[in-house]
């Protein structure tokens, strides 16, 4: 075999080409993770009876949170600031029948949230956030007491146990259009 040796290809510009591609992907890539509040919507009521069923719950086990078109908060028929909502909700959930006007126990307690069509999205998220924070704080406290770690660090059955103790029950009523657009 007397094959003539092939001339070697110059690989010097390989790095340049790779750099070019690298810079392209560096620019187009988005590293941000999507974060948000996860909620589960209820199924549409099949008939009228299901709606009536809701009224069977004792009034003291429902924590009524109303937000109007001017982004004002009415909690249990009293005006409230968003900053107070977390404490208010915690007091309601963690009552264990002490105060006759608040919930019997966290399993029975339901937070009912109703907003106007004119409520701003920002306000709505703030309220949702405060309510979840109330649940999270109660769960964390219970998890600390029992397992010595925060709720989010728990796994499997332990997590289920705490979740069962403080189930997140936020119910949203059908919206009303009082304040106009």
């Amino acid at each position: 075999m007397s094959r003539r040796s092939l001339p070697e290809i110059n690989a010097g510009s390989m790095a340049d080409i790779a750099f070019l591609l690298l810079i392209f992907f560096l620019v187009t890539t988005t590293m941000d993770v999507d974060t948000g509040l996860v909620r589960k919507l209820p199924a549409l009521p099949e008939d009228e009876e299901e709606i009536i069923d809701d009224s069977q719950i004792k009034a003291k086990n429902i924590y009524v949170v109303l937000v109007n078109a001017k982004d004002q908060l009415l909690v249990e028929e009293e005006l409230m600031e968003v900053s107070q909502l977390r404490e208010g909700a915690k007091k309601f959930l963690d009552n264990w029948g002490k105060n006759p006007n608040l919930s019997d126990n966290p399993q029975k307690a339901i937070i009912s949230l109703q907003n106007d069509r004119g409520t701003s999205y920002e306000m709505y998220i703030k309220v949702q956030n405060e309510l979840s924070a109330a649940y999270r704080e109660l769960r964390d406290r219970e998890a600390q007491k029992k397992f010595g770690v925060n709720y989010t660090k728990l796994k499997g059955d332990n997590k289920k146990e705490i979740r069962k103790m403080y189930p997140e029950k936020i119910s949203e009523a059908e919206p009303k259009n009082v304040g106009g657009k």
Binding site: A15, T28, T29, T35, V38, N177
Partner: protein, 155 residues
């Protein structure tokens, strides 16, 4: 003696750049794998609200995005300033959401269908009326898992 002198004159030897392409390729592959191309061009203002109790979305491919907000300044003469719904690349009405969710469901593998989630990316200035309409449509489409997209704030 002459052997020692030779070395003195040459100075520091040049660093070999032969492995440079390898390093760059390694980085390149990393970015190629992690990159997610933005599929839609935003037609609406989209400043998300802040929240502290956020959860991360594990798999973005299971997400169908609904954008809500006022049209961006360039196209306001055509589409007005009232907040609107954007699905994929165009403005849609709330009634179109059912079809949008259904097409996403169609395109997903059977075993992943229960994990499908709808992300509502709404602007802070949007009103709840529009969001409520979206939620009602999602209930009709039986897409119950939703996520209100927010920026995470640590307080």
């Amino acid at each position: 003696m002459s052997r020692f002198k030779k070395k003195k004159g040459s100075g520091t030897p040049a660093i070999s750049t032969a492995s440079l392409p390898d390093i760059v390729f390694m980085l390149l592959f990393f970015f190629m794998v992690t990159t997610v191309m933005r599929e839609t061009t935003l037609l609406v203002e989209n400043t998300l609200p802040q929240a502290s109790e956020v959860k991360k979305i594990e798999d973005k491919s299971l997400c169908s995005y609904i954008y809500v907000g006022a049209p961006v300044s360039g196209i306001q003469t055509k589409f007005g300033t009232e907040p609107r719904i954007q699905l994929n690349d165009s403005f849609k009405l709330a009634a179109d959401i059912q079809e949008f969710v259904a097409s996403k469901r169609e395109a997903t593998a059977e075993e992943k269908k229960p994990q499908l989630i709808t992300c509502i990316k709404a602007d802070v200035d949007a009103k709840m009326g529009l969001i409520t309409d979206i939620k009602q449509e999602l209930r009709k489409a039986q897409a119950y898992k939703i996520n209100y997209a927010t920026y995470s704030s640590i307080d």
